[in-house]
Symmetry: C3
C-alpha cells in the first residue's frame, strides 16, 4: 500500500504536487513583482543595486529603505514565507495519511485559492478581505495538521 | 524495505510527522500572538488595518512600523522561518536514512522542545537562555544533516 | 517502482538529499555569520542581547536596528528563505517524477552553486552578478516546477 502513495498515479499525491507548485509559482511572482516595483519607483535596498540600475538605464534611482509600496510587497512576501513552507510540509504528510481524494483535493484548492486571493487583497489594501483569506489558508493547513497528528505518535 | 519507510506504521516516521506538526503549530501560535499584540497595543503596519480595526472596535489605533513589542515578536517569527523549514526538510530525509528509532526520537524531541523554549525565552527577553535553546535546535538539525550527507552522494 | 524512488539507493534521490543538506548548511553559515557580524560591530536588535554581551565581554555594544552591515546579511538571509524552502519541496517532488539522473543532477548542482555564489556576491555587493546568480537558482527551480506540473493533475 504505502509503496504507491508517493507516486503520480495516486490522484491525491498528483493533486498535492500540482498545488504545491502553484503556490510556489505564486510566491515567485511576488518576488518578481518586488523587483518590478523597485525598478518602477527607483528605490533599492542596496547601494550597488541603485548604482547598477542607474548605469544600465541612465536613471536617478536612490538607495532607500522606506518606500511604502516596496515595504507592502515585502510584508506580503514575508507572510507567504510564514504560511507556504508549512503547507508544503504538512500537505505531504497529509497525503501519507491516505485521506479521501475528494476531501484532500478541497484542502489543497482552498489553500491555493486563499493564498492567491490574500496576495491580491494585500496589494489592493482590501481589509477585512485580506484577514479573511489569510484565515481560510490557515484553517485549511490546521485541518491537515490535526489529521496528521491523529495518525502520528509522540 | 523502502516501501514502508514513509508510512505511519513506521514509528520513526510517525514521530517525525507529529513533531513536524507540533513545530508548525508553535509557529502558528506566534503568528496569532503577533496579531494579538498588534491589536492590544493598537499598532499596525498597513494603513487599511488600523482603519478597519478602528471601524470595528471604535478605537484609535495607529499605523506605525516601530513598536518594540511588535518588532520583538516579528524577529522571533523570522527566527522560526530560518530554522523550522530546514528541520521539516532534513527531518524527512533523515527518516529515509533508516535511523535507530530511539536516536531519531531524541533528535525530534530536542528540536521541538528547543524551539518552544526559544520562543518563551525570546518573549521574556531571557539571555543567554535564548541563545542556548537556539543552538540546541540547530545542533539537532545539524546532527541530522551530517547523517543525511553520509547516506547521500554528490 | 515507486517503492524505491525515495531511497538512498536511487542516485537521483541521494543527490537531492545531499544538495538539500548543502543549501541548508549554507543557510546556517549565513545565520552564524549574522551573529558574528553583530558581535564584531557590537550592534544587537534586542536590548537583552547587548546587555548580556557587554556583561560577558566587557564591551560597550549598543542596541540599535540600523547597522548597514547587519542589515545586508539579514536581507541576504531573507532572500535565502524566499528560495531555499521552495527548492527543498519542489526538488523532492521532482525526484518522484522519475527524471533522468544526469539532468536531475545538473538541476541540483546549478541551484546549489547559484545560491552559494549569490551569497558571496551579496556580501561583496557585486552587481549585476548577484542578480545573475539569483536568476540561475530561480530558473533551476522553475524548470523543476514545470516538470512536476506536467506530471501532476489539478
Amino acid at each position: 500500500m504505502a509503496s504507491t502513495v508517493l507516486s503520480f498515479e495516486n490522484p491525491v499525491f498528483a493533486a498535492y504536487a500540482t498545488h504545491a507548485c502553484l503556490v510556489i509559482l505564486k510566491m515567485f511572482v511576488v518576488a518578481r513583482y518586488t523587483s518590478f516595483i523597485r525598478c518602477r519607483v527607483g528605490v533599492f535596498t542596496n547601494p550597488e543595486d541603485s548604482k547598477t540600475f542607474n548605469k544600465f538605464f541612465d536613471t536617478n534611482a536612490k538607495f532607500r529603505l522606506d518606500n511604502p509600496d516596496v515595504e507592502r510587497v515585502r510584508r506580503l512576501h514575508l507572510n507567504d514565507l510564514e504560511n507556504i513552507p508549512a503547507f508544503l510540509a504538512v500537505g505531504l504528510l497529509y497525503v501519507l495519511t491516505g485521506p479521501s481524494p475528494r476531501v484532500a483535493l478541497w484542502h489543497f484548492r482552498v489553500f491555493t485559492a486563499a493564498r492567491c486571493l490574500h496576495t491580491v487583497s494585500y496589494l489592493a489594501g482590501a481589509q477585512p478581505w485580506r484577514t479573511l483569506f489569510f484565515n481560510a489558508g490557515m484553517i485549511s493547513t490546521l485541518s491537515m495538521v490535526v489529521q496528521v497528528l491523529m495518525a502520528g505518535s509522540l
